[in-house]
Symmetry: C2
Subunit: 201 residues, 2 copies
DNA sequence: GTCTATACCTCGATAGAC
DNA sequence: GTCTATCGAGGTATAGAC
C-alpha cells in the first residue's frame, strides 16, 4: 500500500509547494512536512533546493508544451481545431490551476531554466498548425494575419483570465462559484469570438 | 539640485527593486544600495519591508486602475474606443514593462493587498463603457455577448504577450529587437481583430 | 536624520549517530 | 536511508552614538 518511494513522496510534495509558492516562496521545511519526512532527506535525495526545483520545472514544462502542441496537430478544419483547442486548454488549466502562475513566475525570475527546457525539447518555430493556418489564408478562407499572432491571441484569451482571477473577481464582485460558472460560459463564447475574428465577412 | 528627500529616494529605489523582484525576491540591502543610503534608514522611514511594499503597491495599483478605467470613458464610437484602448494600453506597458508581472505576482501571493486597494478605490462593477457596449448590443450594432467578457478579452490580448515574452521569444526564436517590432505590429493588428470579432456579419 | 554595530531569526545545508 | 543536532550565511530589525 504505502510503497511509494521516499523520493517520489518528496517529489510530489515539492511539486505541490513549488507550484503554489514558486522557488523563492517555498520553504524546504514546508516541503518536508508535506512529504511527512525529515528536512535533511530532501538534501539526501536532491542535494539542493535549486536542483529539486529544476527537476520539477523541467518535467512540468515539458509535459505542458508537449500537450499544448499536440492538441493543435492532426486532421480537422481550422474551426474545429480552434474549438477543440480552447476547450482542452481551458479544461487543462481548470484541472491544474497553479500551472499558469508557476510558469509565469519562472519566466520572469529564472528565464534561463526555460531556455534549457527549450534546448532539450528542440522546440521548432514552425508547427503543423501554422502551415495549415497559412494555407487557409492563402486560399482566402480566413483573414490574412501573422499565424503567430493568431496562436498567441488564442492562448492569451484562454490563460489570462485564470492568472488574473482575483483581480477580475474583485472588480466584478464575483464569488468563487460565480467565477467557475463564468469560466464555463467563456469556454463556449471564446471559440465563436475567435472564429468571427478570422472569418472573411 | 539634489533636493530629493531621503524618503523619496528610498521610495523610488524600492519601487524599482520590488517591481522587478517582488516582495519575496527583493532584499532590503539591495534597496538601500539602489537609494545610496544606509539599510537602517529604510526602517526609520518605513518601519518594515511589508509596509514599504504595501505603500508602493497601493500607489502603483491605484494609478494603474485609474488610468485604465478612464481610458474607456468619455465620448466616441465603440470602434474608436477599442483602437484607443489597445494603443494606450500597450503603450503604457511598453513604458512600464515590469508592471504586469508585478501585479500578477501580488495577485497570486498577496491577494489581500489587492482587496484592500479595491476597498479604498471603491471599484464599481458597472462602468460607462459597459453601459455603452450594452447599448450597442441592444441596438444590434455589435454582436451580443457579456460586456465583461469583451473587456477581459481586450485586456488579455494586450497584456499576455508581455508577460509571456521570454516564452514566446523562445518558441518563435526572436531576438529582443525582433520582439519590439513584433509588438508594434500587434498594436495595429489587435484592434482589427477585436472589431471583426464583435461585428455583425 | 544618518550612521555603525549588532541582536535575533529564518533558512538551506551538513555532520554524524543509528 | 533516516534521524537529531547544529552550523553558517544572509535576512530583517533595533540600539545607540553622532
Amino acid at each position: 500500500m504505502e510503497d511509494i518511494s521516499t523520493e517520489q513522496k518528496i517529489y510530489s510534495a515539492a511539486k505541490q509547494i513549488f507550484l503554489k509558492k514558486g522557488l523563492q516562496g517555498a520553504r524546504m521545511q514546508e516541503i518536508a512536512d508535506e512529504a511527512g519526512i525529515n528536512k535533511s532527506l530532501l538534501h539526501y535525495y536532491f542535494r539542493t533546493k535549486e536542483k529539486l526545483f529544476q527537476e520539477i520545472f523541467e518535467e512540468t514544462a515539458t509535459k505542458l508544451f508537449t500537450s499544448v502542441i499536440s492538441s493543435l496537430e492532426g486532421d480537422g478544419s481550422i474551426e474545429i481545431k480552434i474549438r477543440l483547442f480552447v476547450e482542452r486548454y481551458i479544461g487543462f488549466i481548470q484541472e491544474n490551476p497553479y500551472i499558469p502562475q508557476f510558469m509565469i513566475n519562472v519566466i520572469s525570475q529564472n528565464p534561463d531554466m526555460l531556455l534549457q527546457v527549450f534546448e532539450k525539447m528542440k522546440i521548432q518555430p514552425k508547427y503543423e498548425i501554422m502551415k495549415q493556418l497559412q494555407l487557409e489564408m492563402d486560399k482566402g478562407n480566413i483573414i490574412k494575419m501573422r499565424t503567430e499572432d493568431l496562436i498567441i491571441n488564442m492562448v492569451s484569451l484562454c490563460i489570462f483570465p485564470f492568472i488574473a482571477k482575483p483581480l477580475i473577481q474583485g472588480i466584478l464582485g464575483k464569488s468563487d462559484e460565480d467565477y467557475i460558472a463564468f469560466m464555463e460560459e467563456r469556454k463556449k463564447m471564446l471559440p465563436d469570438f475567435i472564429v468571427r475574428a478570422i472569418q472573411i465577412n
